[in-house]
Protein backbone atom coordinates (compact mmCIF):
# COMPACT_ATOMS: atom_id res chain seq x y z
CA UNK A 1 0.00 0.00 0.00
CA UNK A 2 1.54 3.26 -1.09
CA UNK A 3 0.05 5.33 1.69
CA UNK A 4 1.89 3.40 4.42
CA UNK A 5 4.09 5.70 6.45
CA UNK A 6 7.49 5.04 7.94
CA UNK A 7 6.04 5.47 11.45
CA UNK A 8 3.96 2.29 11.18
CA UNK A 9 6.48 -0.16 12.57
CA UNK A 10 4.06 -2.82 13.78
CA UNK A 11 0.76 -3.54 12.04
CA UNK A 12 -1.92 -1.47 13.71
CA UNK A 13 -4.53 -3.44 15.61
CA UNK A 14 -8.17 -2.61 15.12
CA UNK A 15 -9.67 -4.43 18.05
CA UNK A 16 -8.44 -5.48 21.53
CA UNK A 17 -5.98 -8.34 21.38
CA UNK A 18 -8.29 -11.15 22.44
CA UNK A 19 -11.11 -9.86 20.26
CA UNK A 20 -8.83 -9.58 17.29
CA UNK A 21 -7.46 -13.03 17.93
CA UNK A 22 -10.83 -14.75 18.26
CA UNK A 23 -13.90 -12.70 17.58
CA UNK A 24 -13.52 -11.38 14.04
CA UNK A 25 -12.10 -14.61 12.60
CA UNK A 26 -14.88 -16.66 14.26
CA UNK A 27 -17.50 -14.27 12.96
CA UNK A 28 -15.88 -14.34 9.52
CA UNK A 29 -15.62 -18.13 9.52
CA UNK A 30 -19.35 -18.45 10.21
CA UNK A 31 -19.84 -16.43 7.01
CA UNK A 32 -17.24 -18.46 5.09
CA UNK A 33 -18.98 -21.64 6.23
CA UNK A 34 -22.38 -20.33 5.19
CA UNK A 35 -20.97 -19.48 1.75
CA UNK A 36 -18.89 -22.57 1.07
CA UNK A 37 -20.63 -25.55 2.69
CA UNK A 38 -23.84 -25.43 0.59
CA UNK A 39 -21.73 -25.24 -2.56
CA UNK A 40 -19.69 -28.37 -1.96
CA UNK A 41 -21.99 -30.51 0.20
CA UNK A 42 -23.73 -32.03 -2.83
CA UNK A 43 -20.55 -33.79 -3.92
CA UNK A 44 -20.28 -36.29 -1.01
CA UNK A 45 -24.08 -36.59 -0.95
CA UNK A 46 -24.21 -37.67 -4.59
CA UNK A 47 -22.08 -40.73 -3.80
CA UNK A 48 -24.13 -41.73 -0.75
CA UNK A 49 -26.70 -43.88 -2.50
CA UNK A 50 -30.37 -44.01 -1.53
CA UNK A 51 -29.88 -43.31 2.16
CA UNK A 52 -28.83 -39.76 1.39
CA UNK A 53 -30.12 -37.92 4.43
CA UNK A 54 -27.42 -39.39 6.66
CA UNK A 55 -24.28 -37.33 6.93
CA UNK A 56 -21.49 -38.30 6.64
CA UNK A 57 -22.48 -40.90 4.03
CA UNK A 58 -22.02 -44.44 5.33
CA UNK A 59 -21.28 -46.02 1.97
CA UNK A 60 -19.83 -45.13 -1.40
CA UNK A 61 -22.02 -45.90 -4.37
CA UNK A 62 -22.66 -44.69 -7.89
CA UNK A 63 -26.36 -45.62 -7.67
CA UNK A 64 -27.60 -42.04 -8.00
CA UNK A 65 -25.54 -41.47 -11.13
CA UNK A 66 -26.78 -44.76 -12.59
CA UNK A 67 -30.36 -43.62 -11.92
CA UNK A 68 -29.67 -40.16 -13.32
CA UNK A 69 -28.25 -41.47 -16.59
CA UNK A 70 -30.99 -44.12 -16.75
CA UNK A 71 -33.85 -41.65 -16.35
CA UNK A 72 -35.51 -40.35 -19.51
CA UNK A 73 -36.68 -37.12 -17.83
CA UNK A 74 -33.23 -36.17 -16.53
CA UNK A 75 -31.41 -37.17 -19.72
CA UNK A 76 -33.83 -35.18 -21.88
CA UNK A 77 -33.30 -32.19 -19.58
CA UNK A 78 -29.53 -32.53 -19.75
CA UNK A 79 -29.65 -32.76 -23.54
CA UNK A 80 -31.94 -29.74 -23.75
CA UNK A 81 -29.63 -27.75 -21.44
CA UNK A 82 -26.62 -28.47 -23.62
CA UNK A 83 -28.53 -27.58 -26.81
CA UNK A 84 -29.91 -24.32 -25.35
CA UNK A 85 -26.59 -23.28 -23.79
CA UNK A 86 -24.66 -24.00 -27.02
CA UNK A 87 -27.16 -22.08 -29.12
CA UNK A 88 -27.07 -19.17 -26.68
CA UNK A 89 -23.27 -19.18 -26.62
CA UNK A 90 -23.06 -19.01 -30.43
CA UNK A 91 -25.77 -16.37 -30.88
CA UNK A 92 -24.69 -14.19 -27.93
CA UNK A 93 -21.03 -14.32 -28.98
CA UNK A 94 -21.74 -13.34 -32.60
CA UNK A 95 -24.01 -10.44 -31.63
CA UNK A 96 -22.05 -9.44 -28.53
CA UNK A 97 -18.55 -9.43 -30.06
CA UNK A 98 -19.80 -7.37 -32.98
CA UNK A 99 -21.44 -4.90 -30.58
CA UNK A 100 -18.30 -4.79 -28.42
CA UNK A 101 -16.18 -3.87 -31.45
CA UNK A 102 -18.62 -1.12 -32.42
CA UNK A 103 -18.46 0.23 -28.89
CA UNK A 104 -14.72 0.08 -28.35
CA UNK A 105 -13.77 1.76 -31.66
CA UNK A 106 -16.85 3.72 -32.62
CA UNK A 107 -17.98 7.20 -31.55
CA UNK A 108 -21.53 7.48 -32.82
CA UNK A 109 -24.70 9.27 -31.83
CA UNK A 110 -26.57 7.71 -28.91
CA UNK A 111 -23.61 5.56 -27.88
CA UNK A 112 -24.16 5.93 -24.12
CA UNK A 113 -27.92 5.35 -24.35
CA UNK A 114 -27.35 2.16 -26.36
CA UNK A 115 -24.71 1.09 -23.84
CA UNK A 116 -27.18 1.53 -21.00
CA UNK A 117 -29.79 -0.46 -22.95
CA UNK A 118 -27.35 -3.34 -23.44
CA UNK A 119 -26.71 -3.53 -19.70
CA UNK A 120 -30.27 -3.05 -18.49
CA UNK A 121 -31.15 -6.80 -18.41
CA UNK A 122 -28.86 -6.98 -15.37
CA UNK A 123 -30.95 -4.34 -13.58
CA UNK A 124 -34.44 -5.74 -14.19
CA UNK A 125 -35.69 -8.42 -11.76
CA UNK A 126 -35.55 -11.77 -13.57
CA UNK A 127 -39.20 -12.53 -12.86
CA UNK A 128 -40.43 -9.30 -14.46
CA UNK A 129 -38.48 -10.00 -17.65
CA UNK A 130 -39.65 -13.63 -17.51
CA UNK A 131 -43.29 -12.53 -17.29
CA UNK A 132 -42.86 -10.10 -20.19
CA UNK A 133 -41.17 -12.71 -22.38
CA UNK A 134 -43.89 -15.22 -21.44
CA UNK A 135 -46.72 -12.84 -22.43
CA UNK A 136 -44.90 -11.84 -25.64
CA UNK A 137 -44.01 -15.40 -26.66
CA UNK A 138 -47.57 -16.53 -25.96
CA UNK A 139 -48.65 -14.00 -28.60
CA UNK A 140 -45.95 -15.13 -31.05
CA UNK A 141 -46.38 -18.85 -30.42
CA UNK A 142 -42.77 -19.15 -29.22
CA UNK A 143 -43.58 -20.45 -25.72
CA UNK A 144 -41.97 -23.78 -24.90
CA UNK A 145 -39.86 -23.73 -28.07
CA UNK A 146 -36.10 -24.17 -27.93
CA UNK A 147 -35.65 -21.16 -30.22
CA UNK A 148 -37.60 -18.94 -27.84
CA UNK A 149 -35.50 -20.04 -24.85
CA UNK A 150 -32.28 -19.39 -26.81
CA UNK A 151 -33.45 -15.86 -27.71
CA UNK A 152 -34.37 -15.09 -24.09
CA UNK A 153 -31.06 -16.45 -22.77
CA UNK A 154 -29.14 -14.45 -25.37
CA UNK A 155 -30.63 -11.20 -24.00
CA UNK A 156 -29.61 -12.23 -20.49
CA UNK A 157 -26.02 -13.16 -21.41
CA UNK A 158 -25.34 -10.29 -23.84
CA UNK A 159 -24.08 -7.78 -21.19
CA UNK A 160 -21.52 -10.31 -19.95
CA UNK A 161 -20.32 -11.11 -23.48
CA UNK A 162 -19.94 -7.41 -24.34
CA UNK A 163 -17.98 -6.65 -21.14
CA UNK A 164 -15.67 -9.67 -21.44
CA UNK A 165 -14.87 -9.33 -25.14
CA UNK A 166 -14.48 -5.54 -25.12
CA UNK A 167 -11.97 -5.73 -22.26
CA UNK A 168 -9.78 -7.77 -24.60
CA UNK A 169 -10.27 -5.37 -27.51
CA UNK A 170 -9.26 -2.33 -25.42
CA UNK A 171 -5.82 -3.83 -24.93
CA UNK A 172 -4.80 -4.38 -28.53
CA UNK A 173 -2.89 -1.82 -30.61
CA UNK A 174 -5.24 0.25 -32.73
CA UNK A 175 -2.44 1.03 -35.22
CA UNK A 176 -2.67 -2.46 -36.67
CA UNK A 177 -6.30 -1.80 -37.55
CA UNK A 178 -5.33 1.61 -38.91
CA UNK A 179 -2.77 -0.07 -41.18
CA UNK A 180 -5.40 -2.52 -42.40
CA UNK A 181 -7.78 0.38 -43.12
CA UNK A 182 -5.12 2.12 -45.16
CA UNK A 183 -4.59 -1.02 -47.22
CA UNK A 184 -8.27 -0.96 -48.05
CA UNK A 185 -9.74 -3.56 -45.69
CA UNK A 186 -13.38 -3.09 -44.78
CA UNK A 187 -14.46 -2.88 -41.14
CA UNK A 188 -15.85 -6.41 -41.29
CA UNK A 189 -12.59 -7.83 -42.65
CA UNK A 190 -10.68 -5.93 -39.97
CA UNK A 191 -12.86 -7.44 -37.24
CA UNK A 192 -12.62 -11.01 -38.50
CA UNK A 193 -9.03 -11.05 -39.84
CA UNK A 194 -7.22 -8.49 -37.69
CA UNK A 195 -9.04 -8.10 -34.37
CA UNK A 196 -10.39 -11.60 -33.67
CA UNK A 197 -7.03 -13.39 -34.12
CA UNK A 198 -5.63 -11.07 -31.44
CA UNK A 199 -8.46 -11.23 -28.93
CA UNK A 200 -9.57 -14.86 -29.30
CA UNK A 201 -8.94 -15.71 -25.62
CA UNK A 202 -11.42 -13.12 -24.40
CA UNK A 203 -13.91 -14.04 -27.15
CA UNK A 204 -13.68 -17.70 -26.15
CA UNK A 205 -14.04 -16.69 -22.51
CA UNK A 206 -17.19 -14.71 -23.30
CA UNK A 207 -18.66 -17.62 -25.27
CA UNK A 208 -18.03 -19.96 -22.33
CA UNK A 209 -19.49 -17.38 -19.95
CA UNK A 210 -22.65 -17.22 -22.08
CA UNK A 211 -22.82 -21.04 -22.07
CA UNK A 212 -22.39 -21.05 -18.31
CA UNK A 213 -25.06 -18.44 -17.54
CA UNK A 214 -27.51 -20.13 -19.90
CA UNK A 215 -26.75 -23.58 -18.44
CA UNK A 216 -27.48 -22.24 -14.93
CA UNK A 217 -30.50 -20.07 -15.75
CA UNK A 218 -33.72 -21.13 -14.05
CA UNK A 219 -36.22 -18.26 -13.67
CA UNK A 220 -36.76 -17.22 -17.31
CA UNK A 221 -36.69 -20.82 -18.46
CA UNK A 222 -39.19 -21.80 -15.77
CA UNK A 223 -41.68 -19.33 -17.25
CA UNK A 224 -41.22 -20.10 -20.95
CA UNK A 225 -40.16 -23.77 -21.15
CA UNK A 226 -42.79 -26.44 -21.60
CA UNK A 227 -42.87 -30.15 -20.80
CA UNK A 228 -40.69 -31.11 -23.77
CA UNK A 229 -38.23 -28.23 -23.54
CA UNK A 230 -37.43 -28.11 -19.80
CA UNK A 231 -33.74 -27.63 -19.03
CA UNK A 232 -31.80 -29.22 -16.17
CA UNK A 233 -32.35 -26.29 -13.73
CA UNK A 234 -36.09 -26.27 -14.51
CA UNK A 235 -36.44 -30.00 -13.83
CA UNK A 236 -34.41 -29.56 -10.64
CA UNK A 237 -36.61 -26.68 -9.54
CA UNK A 238 -39.88 -28.49 -10.14
CA UNK A 239 -38.66 -31.65 -8.41
CA UNK A 240 -37.36 -29.61 -5.46
CA UNK A 241 -40.79 -27.99 -5.19
CA UNK A 242 -42.64 -31.28 -5.06
CA UNK A 243 -40.74 -34.29 -3.71
CA UNK A 244 -37.04 -34.15 -2.99
CA UNK A 245 -35.68 -37.07 -4.98
CA UNK A 246 -32.12 -38.20 -4.13
CA UNK A 247 -31.26 -38.14 -7.86
CA UNK A 248 -31.11 -34.33 -7.51
CA UNK A 249 -27.80 -34.77 -5.69
CA UNK A 250 -26.28 -36.36 -8.80
CA UNK A 251 -27.84 -33.73 -11.07
CA UNK A 252 -26.60 -30.94 -8.80
CA UNK A 253 -23.07 -32.35 -8.73
CA UNK A 254 -22.99 -32.55 -12.53
CA UNK A 255 -24.33 -29.00 -12.81
CA UNK A 256 -21.77 -27.80 -10.30
CA UNK A 257 -18.80 -29.62 -11.84
CA UNK A 258 -19.65 -28.16 -15.26
CA UNK A 259 -19.91 -24.67 -13.77
CA UNK A 260 -16.66 -24.94 -11.84
CA UNK A 261 -14.75 -26.34 -14.80
CA UNK A 262 -16.03 -23.65 -17.15
CA UNK A 263 -15.40 -20.79 -14.72
CA UNK A 264 -11.86 -22.07 -14.18
CA UNK A 265 -11.25 -22.04 -17.95
CA UNK A 266 -12.82 -18.56 -18.19
CA UNK A 267 -10.57 -17.29 -15.38
CA UNK A 268 -7.48 -18.69 -17.12
CA UNK A 269 -8.50 -17.25 -20.49
CA UNK A 270 -9.23 -13.76 -19.11
CA UNK A 271 -5.99 -13.82 -17.13
CA UNK A 272 -4.12 -14.75 -20.27
CA UNK A 273 -5.88 -11.98 -22.17
CA UNK A 274 -4.92 -9.36 -19.58
CA UNK A 275 -1.33 -10.61 -19.32
CA UNK A 276 -0.64 -10.16 -22.99
Amino acid sequence: MHSRSAISVKPSRWLPGWLQAAFVPTWAWVAYGLMVVPCILVIPMSFAGEDQLVFPPRQFSLDLYRKFFGSVVWMEALKQSVVVASGTAVLATCIGVSAAYGFVRGRFFGRSVIGFLLFSPMLVPAVVLALGVYLYFARLGLTSTTLGIVFAHTVLTLPFVVVTSSSGMRQIDVNVELAATMMGASRFVILTRVVLPQVWPSVLASALLAFLISFDEAVLTWFIAGAGTATLPVVMFSSLKSEVSPIIAAAATLLMTTTMLLSLIIALLTKRASDE
Partner: protein, 294 residues
Amino acid sequence: MPPEGGIRTRGRALNASQSNTADGNLFWFVVPALILMGLIFLVPLGYVFYYSLLVDGRFSTDGFVTLLTSGLFYRVFITTFEISFLSTAVSVFLGYAVALHLSRLEPRRRIIYMGMVMLPFWTSILVKSYSFTLILGRRGIINSVLTYLFGDAARLELIYNRIGVVIGMTNYLIPFVVFPVLANLLAQDRNLRTAAEIMGARPLRIFMSITLPLSIPGIVAGALMCLVLSFGFFITPAILGGRRDVMLSNLIDLYTRETLNWNLAAATGVSLLLITALLMAVLSRLPGTRNAFT
Protein backbone atom coordinates in the same frame (compact mmCIF):
# COMPACT_ATOMS: atom_id res chain seq x y z
CA MET B 1 0.95 -3.39 -23.14
CA PRO B 2 0.59 0.35 -23.79
CA PRO B 3 -1.17 2.35 -21.07
CA GLU B 4 -4.90 3.00 -21.41
CA GLY B 5 -4.33 6.70 -22.07
CA GLY B 6 -2.08 5.94 -25.03
CA ILE B 7 -4.72 3.82 -26.71
CA ARG B 8 -7.33 6.48 -26.27
CA THR B 9 -5.11 9.15 -27.83
CA ARG B 10 -4.33 6.90 -30.74
CA GLY B 11 -8.01 6.01 -31.05
CA ARG B 12 -8.77 9.68 -31.40
CA ALA B 13 -6.03 9.98 -34.01
CA LEU B 14 -7.66 7.16 -35.95
CA ASN B 15 -11.03 8.87 -35.79
CA ALA B 16 -9.55 12.16 -36.91
CA SER B 17 -7.82 10.58 -39.87
CA GLN B 18 -11.07 9.15 -41.15
CA SER B 19 -14.23 10.80 -42.32
CA ASN B 20 -17.28 10.75 -40.09
CA THR B 21 -18.94 8.20 -42.32
CA ALA B 22 -16.18 5.66 -41.77
CA ASP B 23 -16.67 6.09 -38.06
CA GLY B 24 -20.42 5.96 -38.44
CA ASN B 25 -20.02 2.56 -40.11
CA LEU B 26 -19.15 1.11 -36.73
CA PHE B 27 -22.71 1.79 -35.66
CA TRP B 28 -23.77 -1.13 -37.87
CA PHE B 29 -21.78 -3.51 -35.68
CA VAL B 30 -24.11 -2.61 -32.79
CA VAL B 31 -27.31 -2.98 -34.83
CA PRO B 32 -27.83 -6.77 -34.36
CA ALA B 33 -27.57 -6.30 -30.59
CA LEU B 34 -30.00 -3.39 -30.77
CA ILE B 35 -32.54 -5.41 -32.75
CA LEU B 36 -32.30 -8.30 -30.27
CA MET B 37 -32.62 -6.00 -27.24
CA GLY B 38 -35.53 -4.18 -28.82
CA LEU B 39 -37.44 -7.34 -29.72
CA ILE B 40 -36.67 -9.61 -26.77
CA PHE B 41 -36.15 -7.06 -23.99
CA LEU B 42 -37.96 -3.76 -24.57
CA VAL B 43 -41.05 -5.26 -26.21
CA PRO B 44 -41.54 -7.85 -23.41
CA LEU B 45 -41.19 -5.09 -20.78
CA GLY B 46 -43.73 -3.12 -22.78
CA TYR B 47 -46.01 -6.15 -22.65
CA VAL B 48 -45.80 -6.17 -18.83
CA PHE B 49 -46.93 -2.52 -18.69
CA TYR B 50 -49.56 -3.14 -21.37
CA TYR B 51 -51.09 -6.15 -19.62
CA SER B 52 -51.02 -4.35 -16.25
CA LEU B 53 -53.48 -1.86 -17.74
CA LEU B 54 -55.55 -4.37 -19.72
CA VAL B 55 -58.63 -5.67 -17.88
CA ASP B 56 -61.00 -7.90 -19.87
CA GLY B 57 -59.78 -6.51 -23.17
CA ARG B 58 -60.11 -2.82 -22.32
CA PHE B 59 -57.79 -0.18 -20.93
CA SER B 60 -58.24 0.33 -17.18
CA THR B 61 -56.29 0.80 -13.96
CA ASP B 62 -58.58 -1.67 -12.18
CA GLY B 63 -55.73 -4.16 -11.86
CA PHE B 64 -53.76 -1.83 -9.62
CA VAL B 65 -56.89 -0.98 -7.60
CA THR B 66 -57.57 -4.69 -7.12
CA LEU B 67 -53.97 -5.24 -6.00
CA LEU B 68 -53.93 -2.35 -3.54
CA THR B 69 -57.17 -3.45 -1.94
CA SER B 70 -56.36 -7.17 -1.93
CA GLY B 71 -55.31 -8.68 1.39
CA LEU B 72 -53.08 -11.20 -0.42
CA PHE B 73 -51.00 -8.54 -2.20
CA TYR B 74 -50.69 -6.52 1.02
CA ARG B 75 -49.48 -9.60 2.97
CA VAL B 76 -47.00 -10.59 0.25
CA PHE B 77 -45.75 -7.02 0.02
CA ILE B 78 -45.10 -6.87 3.79
CA THR B 79 -43.49 -10.34 3.70
CA THR B 80 -41.18 -9.25 0.86
CA PHE B 81 -40.10 -6.18 2.84
CA GLU B 82 -39.54 -8.18 6.03
CA ILE B 83 -37.54 -10.94 4.36
CA SER B 84 -35.51 -8.46 2.29
CA PHE B 85 -34.55 -6.26 5.25
CA LEU B 86 -33.81 -9.22 7.51
CA SER B 87 -31.61 -10.93 4.89
CA THR B 88 -29.85 -7.64 4.15
CA ALA B 89 -29.14 -7.03 7.85
CA VAL B 90 -27.73 -10.53 8.38
CA SER B 91 -25.70 -10.31 5.14
CA VAL B 92 -24.19 -6.94 6.13
CA PHE B 93 -23.28 -8.28 9.57
CA LEU B 94 -21.58 -11.40 8.19
CA GLY B 95 -20.20 -9.74 5.06
CA TYR B 96 -18.55 -7.03 7.12
CA ALA B 97 -16.70 -9.64 9.16
CA VAL B 98 -15.47 -11.32 5.99
CA ALA B 99 -14.34 -8.00 4.50
CA LEU B 100 -12.56 -7.10 7.76
CA HIS B 101 -10.86 -10.48 7.81
CA LEU B 102 -9.84 -10.26 4.14
CA SER B 103 -8.55 -6.69 4.46
CA ARG B 104 -6.01 -7.76 7.07
CA LEU B 105 -4.58 -10.65 5.09
CA GLU B 106 -1.53 -10.21 2.93
CA PRO B 107 -2.50 -9.90 -0.77
CA ARG B 108 -1.28 -13.39 -1.70
CA ARG B 109 -3.40 -15.11 0.94
CA ARG B 110 -6.31 -12.76 0.26
CA ILE B 111 -6.63 -14.18 -3.27
CA ILE B 112 -7.01 -17.69 -1.86
CA TYR B 113 -9.66 -16.58 0.64
CA MET B 114 -11.44 -14.58 -2.07
CA GLY B 115 -12.02 -17.93 -3.76
CA MET B 116 -14.41 -18.81 -0.94
CA VAL B 117 -16.34 -15.58 -1.56
CA MET B 118 -16.48 -16.24 -5.31
CA LEU B 119 -17.64 -19.86 -4.88
CA PRO B 120 -21.32 -19.05 -4.13
CA PHE B 121 -21.17 -16.56 -7.00
CA TRP B 122 -20.46 -19.38 -9.41
CA THR B 123 -22.67 -22.07 -7.91
CA SER B 124 -26.19 -22.54 -9.21
CA ILE B 125 -28.86 -21.30 -6.82
CA LEU B 126 -30.62 -24.65 -7.28
CA VAL B 127 -27.58 -26.61 -6.14
CA LYS B 128 -27.34 -24.42 -3.05
CA SER B 129 -31.07 -24.61 -2.33
CA TYR B 130 -30.91 -28.39 -2.53
CA SER B 131 -27.95 -28.40 -0.13
CA PHE B 132 -29.92 -26.28 2.31
CA THR B 133 -32.75 -28.81 2.33
CA LEU B 134 -30.14 -31.41 3.32
CA ILE B 135 -28.59 -29.18 5.99
CA LEU B 136 -31.68 -27.58 7.51
CA GLY B 137 -34.35 -30.26 6.97
CA ARG B 138 -36.21 -32.10 9.77
CA ARG B 139 -33.83 -35.01 9.35
CA GLY B 140 -31.02 -32.80 8.06
CA ILE B 141 -27.46 -32.44 9.25
CA ILE B 142 -28.06 -29.78 11.92
CA ASN B 143 -31.04 -31.61 13.40
CA SER B 144 -29.20 -34.96 13.32
CA VAL B 145 -26.41 -33.45 15.38
CA LEU B 146 -28.84 -31.76 17.77
CA THR B 147 -30.96 -34.87 18.38
CA TYR B 148 -27.82 -36.98 18.76
CA LEU B 149 -26.53 -34.61 21.44
CA PHE B 150 -29.69 -33.51 23.24
CA GLY B 151 -32.43 -35.96 22.26
CA ASP B 152 -35.57 -35.52 20.19
CA ALA B 153 -36.76 -32.39 21.99
CA ALA B 154 -33.84 -30.38 20.58
CA ARG B 155 -35.15 -30.59 17.02
CA LEU B 156 -35.38 -27.16 15.35
CA GLU B 157 -37.71 -26.10 12.56
CA LEU B 158 -35.19 -24.49 10.20
CA ILE B 159 -36.80 -25.00 6.82
CA TYR B 160 -40.08 -24.18 5.06
CA ASN B 161 -40.26 -21.04 7.20
CA ARG B 162 -38.77 -17.54 7.48
CA ILE B 163 -35.48 -18.85 8.93
CA GLY B 164 -34.83 -21.11 5.93
CA VAL B 165 -35.48 -18.31 3.42
CA VAL B 166 -33.23 -15.84 5.26
CA ILE B 167 -30.38 -18.37 5.54
CA GLY B 168 -30.66 -19.26 1.85
CA MET B 169 -30.76 -15.62 0.76
CA THR B 170 -27.89 -14.62 3.03
CA ASN B 171 -25.72 -17.25 1.37
CA TYR B 172 -26.41 -15.55 -1.96
CA LEU B 173 -26.07 -11.95 -0.73
CA ILE B 174 -22.89 -11.98 1.41
CA PRO B 175 -20.48 -11.50 -1.57
CA PHE B 176 -22.38 -8.36 -2.60
CA VAL B 177 -21.54 -6.84 0.81
CA VAL B 178 -17.95 -8.12 0.87
CA PHE B 179 -16.88 -6.47 -2.42
CA PRO B 180 -17.79 -2.81 -1.70
CA VAL B 181 -16.81 -2.99 2.00
CA LEU B 182 -13.46 -4.63 1.20
CA ALA B 183 -12.74 -2.01 -1.46
CA ASN B 184 -13.50 0.66 1.13
CA LEU B 185 -11.40 -0.90 3.92
CA LEU B 186 -8.39 -1.30 1.62
CA ALA B 187 -8.67 2.32 0.49
CA GLN B 188 -8.65 3.70 4.03
CA ASP B 189 -5.56 5.67 4.99
CA ARG B 190 -3.47 3.59 7.36
CA ASN B 191 -1.90 6.73 8.81
CA LEU B 192 -5.19 7.60 10.55
CA ARG B 193 -5.08 4.37 12.52
CA THR B 194 -1.37 4.78 13.23
CA ALA B 195 -1.95 8.33 14.45
CA ALA B 196 -4.75 7.17 16.75
CA GLU B 197 -2.52 4.43 18.09
CA ILE B 198 0.30 6.84 18.82
CA MET B 199 -2.17 9.04 20.67
CA GLY B 200 -2.91 6.01 22.85
CA ALA B 201 -6.31 4.91 21.53
CA ARG B 202 -7.25 1.30 22.32
CA PRO B 203 -7.87 -0.97 19.29
CA LEU B 204 -11.62 -1.09 19.95
CA ARG B 205 -11.71 2.69 20.12
CA ILE B 206 -9.77 2.89 16.83
CA PHE B 207 -12.27 0.54 15.20
CA MET B 208 -15.31 2.38 16.54
CA SER B 209 -14.17 5.91 15.80
CA ILE B 210 -12.07 5.46 12.64
CA THR B 211 -12.48 2.20 10.73
CA LEU B 212 -16.24 1.75 11.14
CA PRO B 213 -17.34 5.35 10.42
CA LEU B 214 -15.08 5.51 7.37
CA SER B 215 -16.51 2.28 5.99
CA ILE B 216 -20.13 3.46 6.14
CA PRO B 217 -20.27 4.32 2.37
CA GLY B 218 -19.21 0.74 1.60
CA ILE B 219 -21.80 -0.66 3.98
CA VAL B 220 -24.58 1.48 2.50
CA ALA B 221 -23.63 0.49 -1.05
CA GLY B 222 -23.57 -3.20 -0.15
CA ALA B 223 -26.83 -3.01 1.80
CA LEU B 224 -28.69 -1.26 -1.02
CA MET B 225 -27.39 -3.80 -3.53
CA CYS B 226 -28.66 -6.58 -1.26
CA LEU B 227 -32.07 -4.93 -1.01
CA VAL B 228 -32.33 -4.54 -4.78
CA LEU B 229 -31.44 -8.19 -5.31
CA SER B 230 -33.58 -9.58 -2.50
CA PHE B 231 -36.78 -7.89 -3.69
CA GLY B 232 -36.58 -10.00 -6.85
CA PHE B 233 -35.81 -13.34 -5.19
CA PHE B 234 -37.81 -16.22 -6.62
CA ILE B 235 -36.13 -19.64 -6.32
CA THR B 236 -35.05 -19.47 -2.67
CA PRO B 237 -38.45 -18.54 -1.14
CA ALA B 238 -40.15 -21.12 -3.40
CA ILE B 239 -37.93 -23.96 -2.18
CA LEU B 240 -36.89 -23.02 1.36
CA GLY B 241 -39.95 -21.00 2.38
CA GLY B 242 -43.34 -22.07 3.68
CA ARG B 243 -46.84 -20.91 2.76
CA ARG B 244 -46.33 -17.68 4.68
CA ASP B 245 -43.06 -16.75 2.94
CA VAL B 246 -44.44 -15.99 -0.51
CA MET B 247 -42.56 -13.04 -2.04
CA LEU B 248 -43.59 -10.69 -4.86
CA SER B 249 -41.84 -12.84 -7.50
CA ASN B 250 -43.67 -15.94 -6.32
CA LEU B 251 -46.96 -14.03 -6.42
CA ILE B 252 -46.27 -13.16 -10.07
CA ASP B 253 -45.65 -16.85 -10.77
CA LEU B 254 -48.86 -17.78 -8.94
CA TYR B 255 -50.96 -15.28 -10.90
CA THR B 256 -49.34 -16.32 -14.20
CA ARG B 257 -49.51 -20.11 -13.88
CA GLU B 258 -52.13 -21.00 -11.28
CA THR B 259 -54.89 -18.41 -11.51
CA LEU B 260 -54.02 -17.36 -15.10
CA ASN B 261 -54.73 -13.74 -14.19
CA TRP B 262 -52.24 -12.01 -16.48
CA ASN B 263 -53.52 -8.56 -15.55
CA LEU B 264 -52.72 -8.99 -11.85
CA ALA B 265 -49.43 -10.74 -12.66
CA ALA B 266 -48.39 -7.79 -14.81
CA ALA B 267 -49.57 -5.22 -12.22
CA THR B 268 -47.48 -7.00 -9.56
CA GLY B 269 -44.55 -7.04 -11.99
CA VAL B 270 -44.84 -3.29 -12.56
CA SER B 271 -44.87 -2.71 -8.78
CA LEU B 272 -41.76 -4.85 -8.34
CA LEU B 273 -40.04 -3.05 -11.20
CA LEU B 274 -40.83 0.38 -9.73
CA ILE B 275 -39.52 -0.56 -6.26
CA THR B 276 -36.31 -1.92 -7.78
CA ALA B 277 -35.89 1.15 -10.01
CA LEU B 278 -36.31 3.43 -6.99
CA LEU B 279 -33.64 1.58 -5.02
CA MET B 280 -31.35 1.57 -8.06
CA ALA B 281 -31.77 5.33 -8.43
CA VAL B 282 -30.72 5.82 -4.79
CA LEU B 283 -27.80 3.43 -5.31
CA SER B 284 -26.49 5.24 -8.38
CA ARG B 285 -26.67 8.63 -6.58
CA LEU B 286 -24.39 7.44 -3.77
CA PRO B 287 -20.86 8.81 -3.90
CA GLY B 288 -18.21 6.25 -4.66
CA THR B 289 -20.52 3.31 -5.30
CA ARG B 290 -19.98 3.19 -9.03
CA ASN B 291 -16.42 2.04 -8.61
CA ALA B 292 -17.51 -0.73 -6.31
CA PHE B 293 -19.71 -2.42 -8.89
CA THR B 294 -18.42 -1.53 -12.31
